[in-house]
């Protein structure tokens, strides 16, 4: 071009050449090997726009799947219908009749410190009311959906205490409550002209267990169950529309969520006098008792050392019950009878993870029982003189963390294997790596920071510490867009996550 242009110019200089400079062509938007005409989403709360502890309209509008669908519209993507809850604040406490709505950051009037608090009043159940447009749904994601719950009809009803599987968020959209299943409904919709699948299940097989402090209340799915259920759900979807493409994502390391990093292991400020009193009145006695137990070989010297209490001026760890410790209650008789509440007590270390929910219990005055987490082992109560639970649901101890991470690692191997087995049809998002990187390095969006925290203005997670806020959903949507574009040579435009809201600043 260059030479021919010059020669042309030389030879016919006086004639205005017709060849003018053309700017390099910007790549034409293309769907590549994929077709985004009708996208169907199956997933957990992460795919619903659940945030700040509730499902509400603003959150739904900013679900990463919806953002993804909006960006796909540049490439022929169709309308994307979600089961709108038509609720401003949603329902924070379904069990308690939706008297509270989503969380916001409230400045504690006594301490001046901000903390998550539900908005009052709640929507009274609006968010759980039956949804009429199920026939045209695109987003079948339901909060708190384990693989099992996605496959069984009980998830949709009946709404009776005897049916623990019941999930009102599915109940409201189920094609036939009590009969239909989430996967069944989604597969039907997908089979009806679906061209693209966004499939992100598996999170709740770990998440519920972890956020419940690895207490037995919510069980951890076994490896075998995970394998069969995951493949069954995915196969059901893929076979519904045999030519459609899709994207799957793996399970983030839930222990990296701000749910476990917002409350430090040593959040208790003590002045010298209080620390002195706790030392002389509790620590000295308990520590001496432990030494005796070690001397009598009831416990090892290591366990004794691990359990010894220290209080000092400044930040102090939390006093907790640890069910893996030797229960010394039988020895706490006579002069030691007063130590009975500390039969399996120790203080937290940096190896423990404290649930965000613990924040509202720590430091509560429990009357005669002492101060929660300070002189009394942490329990999930704030009232004096109640028979408290043991508080296992507020802490992840190292053994539990390892167990959870091992499961995640295994599950992710299963997910990756499933994705690889359908390599021509499925793009893969390594959500685990994305959260890990966000947690250790943070990230930037157009030069503005985003962090794996709930602190405004840069935190990317809502105040429940588990689900991304709207801006975080935008960030997540871009990760899906990148994976889809790379896999299918498409050019879905990235969104600007900064167009979406983060967490509002604390208010009184």
């Amino acid at each position: 071009m260059r030479n021919s242009k010059k020669y042309f110019a030389l030879a016919f200089g006086m004639m205005a050449a017709a060849c003018t400079y053309d700017f390099p062509e910007t790549t034409e938007p293309t769907a590549g090997e994929a077709d985004f005409t009708k996208m169907i989403s199956v997933g957990s709360g992460l795919s619903t726009g659940f945030m700040n502890g509730a499902l509400y309209t603003d959150g739904q509008d900013a679900s990463f799947v919806r953002i993804l669908a909006q960006q796909m519209q540049a490439l022929g993507g169709g309308t994307f219908t979600q089961p709108d809850v038509d609720s401003e604040v949603g329902c924070y406490n379904p069990a308690a009749g939706c008297t509270a709505g989503r969380l916001y950051l409230k400045i504690n009037p006594t301490t001046g410190a901000p903390g998550p608090a539900p908005k009052l009043p709640g929507d009274g159940g609006k968010a759980l009311a039956p949804y009429s447009g199920s026939a045209n749904l695109n987003n079948f994601a339901v909060p708190s959906t384990t693989l099992l719950l996605s496959l069984i009809p009980q998830t949709g009803g009946p709404a009776i205490p005897q049916n623990p599987a019941y999930n009102p968020y599915y109940g409201r959209i189920a094609s036939t409550p009590g009969v239909s299943t989430i996967i069944g409904d989604a597969a039907t919709a997908f089979g009806n002209g679906g061209t693209f699948l966004t499939f992100w299940l598996g999170n709740d097989d770990v998440l519920g267990y972890a956020t419940a402090g690895a207490s037995v209340a919510v069980p951890l799915t076994t490896n075998d169950d995970f394998t069969s259920r995951y493949n069954s759900a995915l196969t059901a979807m893929l076979s519904a529309s045999p030519n459609a493409k899709g994207v799957v994502a793996n399970i983030p390391d839930v222990t990296s969520l701000p749910f476990f990093s917002t409350v430090a292991y040593n959040p208790i400020p003590l002045d010298a006098a209080t620390a002195g009193a706790l030392t002389s009145q509790l620590a000295v006695n308990y520590n001496a008792f432990l030494e005796g137990m070690a001397a009598n070989q009831i416990i090892t010297a290591d366990e004794a050392a691990k359990r010894k209490l220290t209080y000092s001026a400044g930040s102090n760890p939390i006093l907790i019950n640890d069910e893996t410790l030797t229960n010394l209650e039988p020895y706490m008789a006579g002069p030691y009878a007063g130590l009975k509440p500390y039969a399996i007590a120790r203080q937290t270390t940096k190896n423990d993870l404290i649930c965000l929910t613990a924040g509202s219990y720590i430091g509560a005055n429990l009357g005669a029982n002492g101060v929660n987490g300070v002189s009394a082992p942490l329990t999930n109560t704030t009232s004096a003189n109640t028979q408290a639970l043991k508080g296992d649901d507020l802490i992840l101890i190292p053994q539990e963390i390892t167990q959870i991470q091992n499961s995640i690692s295994t599950f992710n191997g299963i997910i990756k294997a499933a994705a690889d087995a359908n390599a021509t049809r499925l793009a893969f998002v390594d959500a685990n790596a994305i959260l890990a990187s966000l947690k250790t390095n943070g990230a930037e969006i157009n030069g503005s920071t985003i962090t794996a925290s709930i602190s405004p203005p840069f935190g990317g997670f809502g105040l429940d510490g588990v689900y991304p806020n709207a801006r975080g959903n935008g960030y997540l949507a871009n990760a899906f867009i990148d994976a889809i574009n790379a896999k299918f040579k498409s050019s879905i435009p990235r969104c600007n996550p900064n167009n979406f809201a983060g967490n509002e600043l604390p208010v009184p």
Binding site: K6, L10, G13, F23, T26, S448, F458, A501, G502, E504
Partner: protein, 972 residues
């Protein structure tokens, strides 16, 4: 490109070898003598009217001419300083046609060609025009002819190097004058990547200059784009007409008394007088009046004038210290990098380091002060070894008596300094021009190529910044500075959180700078030189080196219908131009596979007719120009000259002119660290999406000033300091820019009235008034983008405003390497006007003495406003006085020139400030030694060594004294 040379050389060789059948039909011979002394005159030019054929007299005054035509023929005998004579020849063989030439004593008899693109008497020119002829070139009082042009009426000159003068007319001058065109033998001498003429750095060497014509004011209607403020036409000596060997050598001295110079207590300048050298040689020879060639070489070398201005461009932000910690000195580089250290207090990692040092309580003591890095003075960064080599080669062949074919090479190379947005060292750059032209008395057809090579040219300011960074990153430096500042406050007993007294703060600044500068590379040290070489050897922006080989190809032709049409003068012309940008992606986006070109075409027609017994001449021109990126433009010129007698001429003209955005204004795509410079074509704005969440940088500066002022105080104290980023008052300062017009040509409409008269053959009188109205000035809009949308109406800080505005605080790049700041070319939709007048007088005294003078008045009627620089850059009053006699005796001549200009404001992106009034005297005396065919000249420009500047930000100039000897084989 090589193929192009081959092509050109091949055609030249072909014509040299071509043998034309010559059968003379008319042969004329004779001798030309000086009518007074009777001595033979060598070098007298004899041409056949209406042909290109002609000859010159030899050393004995003899000539012979053979013409392939039957008589009658008209011969024109001309010699500079003598009255031209036309002689009719009727015999096929005319021998002994001896001519006595009379000296020209009547003023105003010059013939000019550029005002109407056709020969006409200067007295009857329809627009203002000035001419310097060969005698003017030889007798200039300045050390070279180009500097001597400053004495021309209506001409303004500024200077950014000892060898780089910039010419302008009628306002809006600049150190890179993109509104002015300079032609050498019809070739545009601009540097194609810069789009402005580079003065006398290319073009003919002084020995080869035949004449210079200067048109103040727009000339677009004839010369096309960029002949906006004026045009200068330099004509070299035709090898047929100026033959033989000539040479000159000059020695001079400058920098006399430099050691006195100190504008801030430090000595700047080389400290002692420095020698200057210049030498030139020219040889031309014609064979049989058919073929002629010339070679002219020149070389000059000098120690450049130093940039000595250490005034603080940031003085306005000095919070009252005796030394401004945020100073940005004009001629010191590296201090362009600055930051508000109060903003550093918002940075978490800085907070951590201060907390670790136990100074956490002092975080809010960080003052709202701009701090700049410590600079290096210009002399350590700019290459002052000014030198200039020029070669001019001409090969001319008369194919027939009516058609001449020629090839010309103009080569200019060297080292100079140019002041643009920064100071640029043009180091070992070169520009070569190759031209092939076919011409007759009524037409020409030419094509030429201008090939630029930026050589080792680099940006001096950026080099200073890069040397600083090579030693210590900005982050580290400002971090250490601020931490030390807080420590120094603590040491002085200032309570945590308190600002301290002004004296305490100033002492803390001093301590902070000393600590942060610990171990800094000393000027001239090995480390400094290594860092400097490294910066200068890698391309922008990682280094400071330009890599540009942009070329320009131009083709044009003109045809005059004088042989076909009698009742009026009619001519047409057309041109085609191709810019081939080639910066390897260092200036333009012309990376591999993206070869950017710009094409321009133009065509014009001009008609002139005399009325009322030839007392009124009306001329109308119309020119159409089209650049591929802009709409076509039509520019007319209409003029009338009323000449009640040949010695009284009243002229009126109206015309429009335009300037295309420069090649950079169209296509630049350059990361200059603080922002990305983008061409004004809409594709660039679109590719970078520059208007998304964008605010003018001026408004962002107001915003950050308020954030810095409020952070750490009141509602924003302690851990709430970061909320200041979302302060509603600060955010309200922001001016969003959602769109800017793609750049288009700027325009001028000019009206001129003038009178030129000759009173009693001895007093030449020229008076002119002009009024220019400008529209669509090309400017740049600088934007900074927030990370996302902002709610400027928020009444309290919001998380969205804080996180999205956080990127406004500093220019920077995001996680994808994308800048948040852009500077894009656009136009100002504001009309401004300027007016001016000039009067010139020249009086011819008895015995060859001449006295002359001119006064010039230029005034901008209204400022651009809106925070834009008007950049009129022209003194309101200026006058020149000259007095000389080139022949006081047969041997001695002299020339004196005095000029004065009023003080004026210089506004440019590099710096803005007052240029003081200055009056300067140039003088020379010459002594002719006929036996040696040589003239000795002793002279000086700025005779009294007054230190002065011609533009704010330019070097400080002073006296140059010189002695020279010029040898001319054909000296009469």
């Amino acid at each position: 490109m090589k193929r192009f040379y081959k092509h050109a050389w091949a055609s030249a060789a072909l014509f040299m070898l071509a043998i034309t059948a010559v059968f003379a039909q008319t042969t004329i011979s004779g001798k030309v003598t000086d009518g007074v002394s009777g001595e033979p005159l060598a070098g007298v030019n004899i041409v056949v009217k209406g042909r290109v054929i002609g000859t010159v007299t030899d050393v004995n005054g003899a000539y012979t001419l053979k013409v392939n035509d039957a008589p009658p023929l008209t011969l024109n005998f001309s010699f500079i300083g003598f009255r031209s004579q036309e002689i009719e020849v009727t015999n096929a063989t005319t021998a002994g046609l001896d001519i006595k030439m009379e000296e020209q004593t009547i003023l105003g008899q010059e013939i000019v060609v550029s005002a109407s693109r056709a020969e006409e008497a200067i007295m009857q020119s329809p627009v203002s025009i000035e001419k310097m002829d060969i005698l003017g070139v030889q007798n200039t009082a300045s050390e070279n002819y180009y500097k001597g042009l400053i004495n021309m009426k209506g001409l303004d000159m500024t200077q950014s190097s000892v060898n780089f003068q910039i010419i302008n007319a009628r306002g809006f001058n600049s150190t890179g004058n993109t509104r002015f065109v300079q032609l050498t033998d019809g070739m545009d001498t601009q540097a194609p990547a810069l789009n402005f003429p580079i003065g006398n750095l290319n073009g003919p060497s002084e020995l080869d200059v035949e004449s210079v014509e200067f048109i103040p004011g727009s000339a677009s209607a004839l010369y096309g784009p960029n002949a906006f403020n004026g045009i200068l036409l330099v004509n070299s000596k035709n090898p047929f007409e100026y033959q033989g060997l000539s040479a000159f050598a000059k020695m001079g001295v400058n920098h006399i008394g430099d050691s006195d110079l100190n504008s801030d207590g430090t000595k700047i300048g080389p400290g002692s007088a420095k020698p200057m050298y210049e030498g030139a040689i020219r040889y031309a020879k014609a064979f049989n009046n058919r073929f002629a060639f010339k070679v002219a070489l020149s070389y000059s070398k000098a120690t450049d004038w130093y940039g000595t201005n250490l005034q603080d461009k940031n003085a306005a932000v000095n919070p009252g210290y005796s030394t401004n910690p945020g100073a940005d000195k004009v001629h010191a580089f590296g201090d362009e990098v600055s930051t508000n250290i109060a903003l550093l207090g918002l940075n978490p990692s800085f907070q951590n380091s201060v907390n670790a040092a136990g100074l956490g309580g002092y975080l809010s003591s960080l003052p709202n002060d701009i701090v700049s890095r410590t600079p290096y003075n210009e002399q350590y960064l700019v290459d002052y070894n000014a030198h200039n080599f020029k070669a001019n080669v001409g090969l001319n062949y008369r194919i027939t008596d009516k058609v001449e074919l020629l090839y010309a090479l103009n080569y200019g190379a060297g080292t100079s300094v140019y002041t643009g947005a920064q100071r640029y060292s043009l180091k070992d750059f070169s520009i070569q021009q190759h031209k092939v032209e076919l011409k007759g008395s009524n037409f020409f057809l030419r094509g030429y190529a201008t090939l630029e090579n930026s050589g080792d040219s680099y940006i001096a300011d950026l080099t200073g910044v890069l040397v600083n960074r090579a030693w210590k990153s900005d982050n580290d430096w400002f971090g250490q500075y601020s931490a030390t500042y807080l420590g120094a406050l603590a040491q002085q007993g200032v309570a945590p959180g308190q600002p301290g007294s002004t004296a305490q703060r100033e002492a803390a600044h001093q301590a902070a700078r000393n600590a942060a500068d610990q171990g800094r590379y000393a000027e001239g040290s090995t480390q400094f030189n290594d860092a400097k070489s490294k910066a200068r050897s890698s391309v922008i922006p990682g280094g400071s080196l330009f890599d540009d080989k942009t070329a320009l190809y131009h083709f044009e032709g003109k045809y005059d219908f004088k042989n076909q049409i009698d009742f009026m003068d009619l001519m047409i012309g057309a041109s085609y131009r191709l810019y081939d940008l080639n910066s390897n992606g260092t200036i333009f986006a012309d990376t591999a596979g993206n070869d950017i070109t710009i094409q321009e075409v133009g065509a014009y027609v001009q008609a002139a007719k005399k009325f009322f017994a030839d007392k009124v001449k009306l001329t109308g021109s119309l020119r159409y120009d089209k650049n591929e990126n802009f709409k076509g433009l039509v520019n007319p010129r209409i003029s009338a000259v009323y000449s009640p007698t040949p010695n009284h001429n009243i002229r009126v003209s109206y015309q429009s002119g335009f300037r295309n955005p420069t090649t950079q204004g169209q296509h630049i795509n350059l990361d200059v660290l603080s922002y990305r410079l983008l061409g004004g074509l809409p594709e660039y704005a679109k590719a970078y999406n520059i208007f998304e969440n964008a605010y003018t940088v001026e408004s962002v500066n107001r915003y950050t000033a308020i954030v810095a002022e409020k952070a750490g105080k009141g509602a924003y104290s302690g851990s709430n300091a970061g909320l200041a980023i979302g302060d509603p008052e600060a955010l309200r300062q922001l001016t969003a820019v959602t769109d800017a017009k793609p750049v288009t040509p700027e325009k001028v409409k000019a009206i001129e009235v003038g009178y030129k008269g000759l009173l009693g053959d001895r007093l030449l009188f020229d008076l002119v008034y002009y009024h220019n109205s400008y529209d669509n000035f090309i400017t740049q809009v600088i934007l900074r983008q927030s990370a996302g949308p902002l709610d400027l109406n928020a009444t309290a800080p919001t998380e969205q405003n804080i996180r999205n505005a956080s990127t406004l605080l500093t220019p920077g790049t995001d996680e994808n390497g994308r800048q948040n700041s852009y500077s894009a070319y656009t136009n100002l939709s504001k009309t401004v006007s300027a007016q001016g007048a000039a009067i010139g007088l020249e009086y011819s005294l008895p015995r060859g003495y001449k006295v002359g003078g001119n006064y010039n008045w230029n005034k901008l009627n209204q400022e651009l406003g809106d925070g834009y620089l008007s950049e009129f850059n022209t003194p309101e009053h200026k006058f020149n006085l000259t007095f000389g006699n080139r022949k006081v005796t047969e041997k001695i001549g002299f020339n004196l020139a005095y000029r004065w200009q009023s003080g004026f404001l210089w506004e440019a992106t590099f710096a803005q400030g007052q240029v003081p009034a200055v009056g300067l005297m140039d003088a020379q005396v010459s002594y002719k030694v006929k036996a040696m065919k040589s003239t000795f000249k002793l002279g000086g420009s700025d005779l009294f060594n007054k230190r002065y500047v011609l533009n704010y930000g330019g070097p400080t100039l002073g006296a140059i004294y010189y002695i020279s000897v010029t040898f001319d084989q054909l000296m009469n």
